[in-house]
Symmetry: D3
Subunit: 275 residues, 6 copies
């Protein structure tokens, strides 16, 4: 059950409107690694957690915070769109700066949302739930979360470079900080889990299920032996075993030949190419 | 530039057809964390790598291998579909087992692909490129890869539980092994990168850009103080700083009020609700 | 800014597991008119509201409630999946009921989410933001909301018919009630807005922009005159004007002929079909 | 069964080409509330209508008309694209206006469609059937239709503001008029249905299915009591009952705790976080 | 401009309901090569045709017919769903046939559409406009059309095998016939165009634009020389030239090395892997 | 099983960066008819081929080549993005050319991929597997391939017009040549198959399944008799039969009336519109 407080978690007010930057900022709202993604990912992980109440609680904490980040960015975008010039006017036609803004902003910010944020990425592609994962295996999922916060912070840093607006940068500075925290948080929990469960996820696969002769081979499918010299290859693997380098990977399976399709499939007749 | 060898990397032949399992196996072919995803993800990461030739080489190695895994699973699915009963016949109508198979298999395996694999997940949703990431930041991307191999191995383990076919299990045993290797591989390279660059991705963000007072706070947005007791919270954070627990997160931003929209947007008139 | 309370808004516990019904229940979680849709729709409408603070507040109230409904349904689905039989075992093979459940449940509930809810519809199609609208015009958006609550309540009623589980029905009885409220709520606000702004959205279009001779004509594009007898056609239109019935709609535009494409488009040469 | 007349329903000829506006106009062709959406929505509602022949007829009438609107807008877009400057030429490079047009137009209008309309929105996202609804419940569906025509007319009004081309505006004036009619039409039919069936859709839910104590409560999930003062809250609800304001909504369900997953799911072991 | 006649183009009435077959039949309504695809494809090709009026007319003829096919199949699906057993009842629970139908039918046919057709494929994936093409080059597009009618007729033939219902088969026999016609139609028009324009599309590419030394080489990227023996390789190519077989394709481009990214991109530092 | 050679199949180096053209070039990488589409289409067709080993081999040859084309274009895009100006700087603000490039390039090339290619089209829509087909019927699929190579070559030709960069044009000249080859290749194989199997796909449909009286009729659904004069109509059809022109197509099916829905569907009550 959720409650809403009307104040924002952090300042989200630009110094001045910038509808073209509004379009770019959509990426961290409704893009693959935007705030909708992390909010929904943490929530579904939390709701699906079975028997690990502390982790569930942590997931709900951080997921709930991320909903507040969606709100901040949506509010920022709306203000970047304030009074965006979308009218075709004589004046505008004479003003190449205005003309350029009209051409470069996301047309849906005017036509569809009436100067408001949309749940879409910086190219206008709608957010979809194919971006997120909640697998029930907490170690795997925390690795997904560490990735999401790494990609997210990278995108925030790039957006920081793309604007000189102090108000926007202030909000981005907060997001950078929270992404730093969340990278640390998931990594700390990953370490805890790896120490208890072991490195390889899922930890519950019996050894006899696995063709272990292939479990530590780096296979060189790209011509040349450059990969033989990778530094990490000489160290112990994270699971404590030794890596092995395979210069010329073998084909362990034969050449497959499928049975002809039954007549009722109306596939091409067999051996049509040989007749 | 790529070359193809006709033999498979590993055995991919079921003991007997099982069209219902063929539907399930589609998940690791064309699902979010199926082989198409890892193959395409590693390739795009490789092609976008700038100035880190060894990593690029490793990405091309493993990406090329994954294309061979797509081939193995597609071949397996085609054979699981051999002679699948899709005809409505008197005989079938009398045989509840056949009737049940016809109802439970993916209808597109008969109607669309003629008893062949499709680039879709276990519910028939087409694979899409929104699943993958290649950001140009290698540390972030290797974290994405570690996640993908964790989720992938988890799904293979679950599928292993769902069949007793020895031929299918043999192929899955190979995939388990390769996913073990790839988890170790990306984790080893992540460790290497973290030691050089530092833990937090991207490592190049100047400290003054970040509202660092928020960079290590665990904020408790979920009622109750359970998260205060998380073990990892007491340890050093992965970046060497100390974590801080915030029991009652504050609203640092004010209550936002947006400007009324300009007339030419035809939004609702301002204060319509107060009149 | 949002906060989470660990208790659910309402009971969400089935009397017994039912993985096949779990698949169906996904529709009102992650389908076109599921709880994710209404939660996100009300939120974005709230965040984009300009100068109508009471409406904004109401939108945030109801949107926040809907996040709690996502939580209830996700929790219900996880419990419907408790101990779902996904292992292929000798025992199962002999038990047609178990075999049937394994064939009929959503395979991703086992392979992908580990017996948890997914943000997808009853066929496994991921939720996407193309389902929702926040236009900045409150009257138009409240009509979208009235529709969403009508479709949502209809789907809940149908699901109620499809189960006899008392725990599930109890949760559905709550959702029916809240959908009743929300239909009443949006309709009451619509009425208020129509009385102030006028019926036709948006109300701000100058009359001279509109080809008003076509503004009240029912055009009969379907052979036969049956539509002439529609009862409502004889009443005043909601905007106070009179309807008009057009038996044989005219073509007011001529037959279009496009200019040949410029050479640099490499379209087919003009009049290729006449040579 | 359908027939085509070569003349357009209304004039669709711009005064002069404008490839940048062509991109924007795509929104009302292939966007969420474009003409493809209403045409397909009314058709599917008509085909699925069971036993309400007059409504079916009306749906086919209006759906058929909307196909003609798709045709008008597609024709308009093709002409706005006449001779669009897509060649990179010395001349163009020197002419910033042409350069700007080349940068701002939809690249697919040149590369994919050869100066023709595409079934996509103003950002190039393909139309998809997730936009539409045909539920079999006519009251619910007519509410969907009233919404679609409200959003559609709003978008047309905004596009009218964005151009000064008289030919384009003439076509938009016709679309404004038809959207006025269709808002009136669906609202009139909704009123008729509500009078017969009752306000709440679907009308066939037995009272005992519903937790009626929650059927008229406005729940205040957003901090502060502002929503208590909503005017409509003091009036009778549309279904004749009285609204009730709940200042502090309660959690009627307990704190959920899920059972640990069975071993064969390979989820994280239970209580891994407490060890 | 379009008109509707209430009668169907052909009989579309099943002998008896079959909700499981209704799910399968959705493929040729809303699948990749279903009737929505061909209707929309021919329409957009027609609307985008520039200066080839006879072809435009033919496209509108056949596109309009295909809308009538959508209607037939939608009507058929609704009747296959008549009285589908979706209630959970004691009786049903005792009847394994009914239980099996409830598990195998598309749940959205009950929950979403109220026993009506949906614009989706046989797995419930919504139709989207990414399936279709209208390029402005008529020869290319007619090749797309020939493919669509080939895939469509193949799917109809497979569905014919899957049912013994005489009413359904009667409708499918009509669709088989029309697909035969349309294959012939597009092939005849392709031949006409190839004779005028030449074989290779588009015909307007100047020879000096093309690296013609590669224009007729079959490159053997798959180990072994089997492809050298393809019969058609010995004949003249369709454009009148001679084919050439390349046993070992060369790499004509060098090994690419990208420049390091600029600092402001926050990519991984260059040569991080060599340090 | 696949292997990678580090050299590119052909030169892929632009004379100078051009981030706006990089956006356009994405169309032939990740668009509907881009290189990902043909690579995946030929691969899946090869893997699904049953009993036609030579065709399978040819499909693997050409599919493998197309992966090399993805590589070339991805490499080209990365270089077109070299040093793209994405920083907001005083200098840039003063330089309208730089400002224009920043507005016109794909924002994801900076924010998401760090100056690398993305698996998306020229509008940023992710590639999806709904673009491709592998049906098991080789004749049908080769027709799909001929279409894909025609659309692909058309798009390459248009892109050639849009740039004057010699390096880009050199790569495009190679792609034009390979598309010429592949059009010839699939057409030659189609001819071979048609001679053996017959023209109409699939060739295995018994005559008595088909309502043959409709198999050669051109139906005139578009007002006017223009289509009666099509030249090809007077020739023999490709399958050797004669075409027939139907001026006024008849409705062979009656007017459909559906049964009222059962009560448990909660559809609108029957005849609600007549009361």
């Amino acid at each position: 059950m959720f409650f809403h407080r009307k104040e924002l978690q952090f300042h989200a007010k630009p110094d001045r409107p910038d509808p073209v930057f509004a379009k770019k900022l959509q990426e961290i709202l409704g893009g693959q690694f935007g705030e909708i993604s992390v909010a929904m990912q943490y929530m579904f992980q939390g709701w699906n957690t079975r028997g690990n109440e502390q982790y569930k609680d942590m997931l709900m904490d951080t997921g709930t915070e991320e909903f507040g980040h969606i709100e901040m960015i949506a509010t920022m975008i709306a203000q970047l769109l304030d009074d965006a010039p979308v009218e075709e006017q004589e004046e505008a036609a004479k003003n190449p700066v205005i003309e350029s803004i009209m051409g470069d902003m996301n047309p849906q910010h005017a036509i569809v949302s009436g100067l408001g944020a949309v749940p879409k990425d910086s190219n206008g592609v709608p957010w979809n739930a194919g971006y997120i994962i909640a697998s029930g295996n907490v170690l795997s999922d925390f690795r997904a979360n560490l990735n999401a916060e790494s990609q997210g912070r990278l995108q925030v840093a790039r957006l920081y470079e793309m604007t000189e607006d102090k108000g926007v940068r202030q909000m981005l500075s907060f997001l950078l900080a929270r992404d730093t925290m969340h990278q640390n948080q998931w990594a700390a929990a990953i370490k805890e889990l790896e120490q208890k469960e072991g490195f390889t996820a899922p930890s519950t696969v019996p050894a006899q299920w696995e063709a272990t002769e292939f479990s530590h081979q780096l296979m060189n499918f790209s011509e040349g032996e450059q990969s033989a010299n990778l530094n990490w290859l000489k160290d112990k693997a994270p699971d404590g075993q030794s890596f092995e380098y395979v210069s010329e990977p073998k084909a362990h399976g034969g050449k497959p030949e499928l049975k002809p399709a039954p007549d009722y499939m109306h596939n091409t007749l067999p051996n049509m190419d040989k007749q």
